[in-house]
């Protein structure tokens, strides 16, 4: 931004020679440049928006879809299609705003790291602490929290 301001300052200086040399030839048509701009369709905008998601959300989503969605479902509502119908309790529903309010980032981190059994629930969700690095769990937590937003 700053350079632009600077240039415009000196554009003032250039006005005089510009007037002098303007006699040499006609001014080019200005609108022409915009007329045939490359077609930017709406899909490009969507793709762009996706690419601009924060990194931890994107990485969290990737990890979630690979490791967690089998039980918790890709939409995070606890309806993963590989979770046995006979199994109880059913996986946590991350889209439940009331439930998610009780789950702070720290609680989620603890429950992911040590498994559901470590926070006094059933043993159905395994401990992931030895599989993920701590910052991978941070990404997961960020993504899981985004379901209830």
């Amino acid at each position: 931004m700053k350079t632009k301001v600077k240039i415009s300052k000196f554009a003032l200086l250039a006005v005089i020679p510009a007037l002098m040399l303007a006699g040499c030839g006609k001014q080019p048509a200005k609108g022409k440049a915009n007329a045939n701009s490359a077609g930017a369709d709406s899909s490009a905008a969507v793709v762009e928006a996706n690419a601009n998601l924060p990194f931890d959300i994107k990485e969290g989503k990737r990890l979630f879809n690979h490791y967690c969605s089998v039980c918790h479902g890709e939409s995070g509502d606890g309806t993963g299609q590989y979770y046995g119908s006979s199994l109880q309790p059913s996986p946590a529903n991350f889209t439940d705003k009331a439930f998610m309010k009780t789950m702070t980032g720290e609680a989620l981190t603890r429950s992911i790291t040590g498994g559901s059994a470590s926070v006094g629930k059933s043993n159905m969700c395994p401990p992931w602490g030895k599989t993920f690095e701590s910052d991978e769990i941070e990404c997961l937590v960020a993504y899981i929290k985004s379901f209830s937003k």
Partner: protein, 294 residues
């Protein structure tokens, strides 16, 4: 942005724009003064500074110089804060920038490369410029015009200088800066520079015009004759002309001075002639020799 505005506001070119303004202003101003003085003189008045033997330096000169140096310093400070050094991409030994331009004050010489052999444009002509400038005090025998502005008393000197400096030196620099783009092709200031522009411009040599191969002996001879006629004719014809018109002047000059002046003059004039040949008639060389091409 408008390519014209863009090119004149480039940090590189600010100096050139300022130069154009300053030179134009001072040129007009000097000629105005000269014509005024001439008018006064024809009316029989004395001109300021004409008969001054000693001038007080301190008050009128040093003080003004101090003020001007202050002003210049202010201007340079603002300029250097306001505009960053116009750095370009990192130098890449495998990639020549296009266009590859000399420092702006040499762009006139670089422009000559379009019209002349590198040997002539790069060595002979610059040497002659230096030699010619050195020789001015020795070949200028006109004592008038010292310390005051005048045109009528130094008509030829002023015209020749103006032509050499304004047209051949400065105009070529301006062309080199604003009108030469990628591939050293000609771009009007309002045209966009395009590194991929294709221009088809077949050039030929002079002897090709009469159907003689320029690199043959016949071509060599034709070229030699043309160049010889220009050089020798250019020497002899003014001599004859002045002998008739003003034999006294010739006598005052003497043979050596005369030859030097005329040689330098016709060499200088060969530049615009060659430019016209190249730009208008698409003639590349007049005379091709095994050692150099003219």
């Amino acid at each position: 942005m408008n390519p014209f505005i863009e090119i004149i506001t480039q940090p590189d070119n600010i100096a050139i724009v300022i130069m154009i303004l300053m030179v134009s202003f001072f040129m007009v101003w000097a000629f105005q003064q000269a014509f005024q003085n001439d008018k006064l003189k024809t009316a029989g008045y004395a001109v300021e500074g004409e008969n001054d033997k000693d001038v007080d330096t301190y008050k009128p000169l040093v003080r003004i110089e101090l003020l001007i140096s202050l002003a210049v310093m202010l201007f340079l400070t603002v300029w250097s804060i306001g505009v960053d050094a116009p750095l370009e991409e990192i130098a890449n030994p495998t990639l020549t920038p296009n266009p590859a331009k000399a420092p702006w004050y040499f762009l006139g010489l670089q422009e000559l490369l379009v019209y002349f052999d590198p040997w002539l444009a790069g060595v002979v002509l610059p040497s002659l410029i230096v030699v010619g400038l050195l020789a001015i005090p020795y070949i200028d025998i006109n004592p008038k015009g010292n310390g005051y502005y005048t045109f009528s008393e130094r008509k030829y000197s002023i015209l020749i200088f103006s032509f050499g400096f304004f047209i051949l030196w400065l105009l070529l620099i301006v062309i080199g800066v604003f009108d030469r783009g990628p591939g050293w092709l000609w771009y009007w200031p309002w045209q966009e520079w395009d590194a991929h522009r294709v221009v088809f411009e077949p050039t030929k040599d002079l002897s090709n015009l009469v159907g003689v191969e320029s690199r043959s002996l016949a071509g060599f001879i034709i070229g030699a004759i043309v160049v010889g006629v220009y050089m020798i004719g250019g020497m002899v014809w003014p001599y004859k002309y002045w002998q008739k018109k003003n034999p006294e002047l010739l006598q005052q000059l003497g043979m050596i001075r005369y030859v030097m002046i005329v040689f330098l003059f016709i060499t200088m004039m060969s530049i615009p002639i060659k430019m016209i040949l190249r730009l208008v008639f698409l003639i590349k060389y007049v005379w091709i020799t095994p050692w150099f091409n003219v």
